[in-house]
Symmetry: C2
């Protein structure tokens, strides 16, 4: 992983089968991303259900990913509620061959800015691989201020900040705002797939992509067009996927991505950790329709 | 535990020492609650940091609580993000001697009403002790509708619903609203200590009390006055603690309760799971002042 990561970081699902890690299905999903030549494979992100898995399951996921990634760099989500758990997960991920780690400040009790800074300070000290700061307020219920982004980005081993999607008219100003306060060698990554094309056009270095975990070519086409400065092509490629963006907004990207993977035969039915349920039948039909439009 | 639990359910801290469960300190805290004759001891609630502890730590907490409770019924928080983890924790709590369990619908991905109902449906089926539904939107980020409260309260083994504090002018109507949709033998418990006196006066059966985990006599005095219908005495007793209620609002009840326990010498310094930090020095002085006013 270069010090300024760029391109598409694809976030695969971690499929379950009868409530156990479905390693063969996961290896199929990861091998497909490697074959499509995504820039990074980010396992155990929110889409990879890291928060729902035991430490032993997470270790096995990392081992399977490194084995199936065929040399593509593997980044690993190490989030947990307690600092010492995060540190143990970081150790295990590195032992299992992770090329980088991602850390979201999960919360149960609401955390202060100083507490979140303390978490990143404690964890980055012990790392020998780069870390991506994973700002995902929809799941962590913690919102970074720009000032805290600056403090955390200055810590050793921080390679990238993954930002949540700004409002459509705030994409450029928000990226400028962050760029102004972080070191030059720290990348800005966009999450929120429907905003990715415009964020890459506005200067984001990489795209933390949910759809890229299951439809990697579609994500790569958007990112290539955007990074080459072809705004019309990038926005047109993104617009081809608008059926998925609408379903993401309605049902959450995790449930929709699992339905795509199930429809494509990559994973078995009921691949999500309960109590999370898969999509209802009418939405599954919409997924099938959106997939057939891509062909 | 009777089928309609009443009175004070005290929520002890789970103190740590050098990031490990401080069993001797915990046993001191629990024995103190038993000596004060609280009605129930609810371990591994939010105040008991359940979300931050490993399964092995949680098992040891239950064993220590049952041993130290001297016959007072022990209820155990079994919350986790994945249904199968909750079921495993329920099994272990019962094996270790729990008289009841509490379940909050923790979330990382936002949950639908049907998903939360499914969680309670799956978990209550396997229980042989009563369950308290733990509605704590500030930490779980899930909000129960009244309709969902009614559906969940009708499940087998549900003994109580713990409700978050309504707005001051909504205490009576909210309790009437819930009472109207749940079975007669299901208790309504209030959480949010500053609202407890008025909620008990308005007909709540029990108080899930944070302050009761560290100052049990103060909580018992409020509850006794309220349950005997002496509104003036109950509100006056609660008003004596208003210094704590203000600190709870400002810093979160967990950090304040830990500071009280540290000030009283019940637990060691830095007893909370990192990244959560203890109170800053000025707030610790306010805690000391509020404690000295009680004498």
């Amino acid at each position: 992983m270069s010090r300024v990561p760029t391109g598409v970081s694809a976030f695969p699902l971690t499929p379950l089968r009868d409530d156990a890690f479905d390693r063969p299905a996961f290896e199929r999903v990861v091998a497909r991303l490697a074959a499509a030549e995504v820039d990074t494979i980010s396992v155990l992100g929110s889409t990879g259900s890291y928060a729902y898995l035991s430490r032993a399951e997470r270790r096995e996921v990392v081992e399977a990913a490194v084995a199936a990634a065929d040399g593509v760099p593997v980044s690993v989500g190490i989030g947990a509620l307690r600092t010492s758990q995060v540190q143990a997960l970081a150790e295990e991920a590195q032992e299992a061959g992770a090329d980088g780690v991602l850390l979201a400040p999960m919360s149960y009790q609401a955390l202060s800015d100083d507490e979140v800074f303390g978490l990143f300070d404690d964890v980055t000290r012990g790392l020998s691989v780069p870390l991506t700061v994973y700002d995902n307020p929809g799941t962590t219920h913690f919102t970074f201020t720009t000032e805290l982004v600056a403090r955390v980005a200055a810590l050793p081993n921080v390679a990238a900040i993954k930002i949540p999607p700004p409002a459509p008219d705030r994409v450029e100003p928000r990226i400028r705002e962050i760029r102004a306060v972080i070191p030059q060698n720290v990348a800005i990554g966009i999450s929120g797939d429907s905003t990715a094309a415009s964020a890459l056009l506005a200067g984001c270095d990489l795209w933390h992509s949910v759809i890229g975990g299951v439809l990697p070519e579609a994500a790569i086409d958007i990112a290539r067009a955007a990074r080459s400065g072809d705004a019309d092509a990038a926005l047109a490629e993104s617009d081809r996927l608008r059926g998925f963006w609408q379903l993401f907004a309605e049902h959450g990207s995790l449930r929709v991505t699992a339905a795509i993977a199930e429809h494509l035969g990559l994973v078995a039915a009921d691949s999500l950790p309960k109590p999370i349920r898969g999509l209802p039948a009418p939405a599954r039909q919409q997924v099938a329709d959106a997939l057939s439009l891509l062909d």
